[in-house]
Amino acid sequence: MQTATTANPKWWNGGKSPFNVEYGKLMMWYFLMSDAFTFGAFLISYGTIRFSTNGWPDPNVVFQSFPFLGSGLPLMFVSLMTFILIISSVTMVLAVKAGHENNKQKVVTNLVWTIIGGIAFLSCQAWEWTHLHHEGAWWGANPFLNADGSQSSTNFTNYFFTITGFHGFHVFSGVIINIIMLIMTLNDTFEKRGHYLMIEKAGLYWHFVDLVWVFVFTCFYLI
């Protein structure tokens, strides 16, 4: 590895990456950018429909249940889900940091915590979907009234299940990627390679999943 710390290298002169990252990481960034557009298109479509509609269901009425505690608790369960995802993002940062220090044991510990966080989030989502389904909500079925008491359309449930489902699928793939990273770490693949840069790319993906949840959480549950 070069240790040059020249103040301002000529990035576009060739012989090195003009973005100063390895190929895989740059491609991960471009993939995440394209994925941001996909999620953005979903959320903007949702916003457009909501702006073109006279009434919309009140999220505090729709999402007010908590497992074992019953109903009448708006925002509580989704806050728990949000904190689970933030904390799992933090443990992922720590795993990437440990990778820079070539500390295998610390990488393993933090990856395991990240995977547990991801599975916990997916379980929460599974519970919420099941609960809403029992109340009669699904694609094409909306049992909830608008906040002003008028009849609401199925747009609300269609968008909710499509967007949280697409996000949940990303969380699921993230957990799978993290499990693969864990297996590779335990097999000393990175140790033999001399660096843990692969963990960094998995970390970027995992943080992106957290990032998208920040937007989904705000758009569906808060406003």
Binding site: S52, S65, F83, L211
Partner: protein, 147 residues
């Protein structure tokens, strides 16, 4: 191998950065939730809109901290930051144009289609939907079939 093409630049990273960003994200989330709870008690449309605006701003601040520090973009060189952020600027047009369009469609229909306006603002009877699932599951699905 792979990393030889990467120049190791000096890090001015704070040692407590991860901890600090975690605390900032937690506080921002709590503030968002407080605003959310506050909004439940408020009926004035303008104040509600202002709260919603503040929540959106807090959301963008959270996004900045996640991308900048957790995804490390703030510590990358300018070339990488620009190649990611500049294309995302399309969202400014994307959001403004589509939300404006949606709103305009609603206003046009309300103005020129009285039937639409009457239908969509008419109060209907609240349906039974108890949060206690299990016992009322059957009712809920039954109810839903009627429509």
């Amino acid at each position: 191998m792979e990393q030889s093409e990467v120049v190791q630049l000096e890090h001015h990273e704070n040692k407590n950065e991860v901890r600090n960003v975690t605390i900032i994200l937690t506080i921002l989330t709590i503030v968002e939730l407080v605003l959310g709870f506050w909004m439940m008690k408020i009926d004035q449309p303008n104040l509600r809109l202002a709260i919603k605006g503040s929540i959106v701003i807090l959301m963008l601040v959270k996004a900045f901290y996640i991308v900048g520090y957790f995804m490390h973009l703030k510590h990358e060189i300018k070339n990488l930051i620009m190649t990611i952020i500049v294309p995302l600027m399309l969202f400014v047009w994307f959001i403004a144009a589509f939300l404006y369009d949606g709103n305009s469609f609603k206003n046009l229909r309300n103005n020129y289609d009285p039937h639409f306006k009457e239908k969509s603002t008419q109060k209907v009877e609240a349906k039974e939907h108890n949060a206690e699932h299990g016992a009322t599951t059957h009712d809920a699905t039954e109810e839903h079939k009627e429509h």
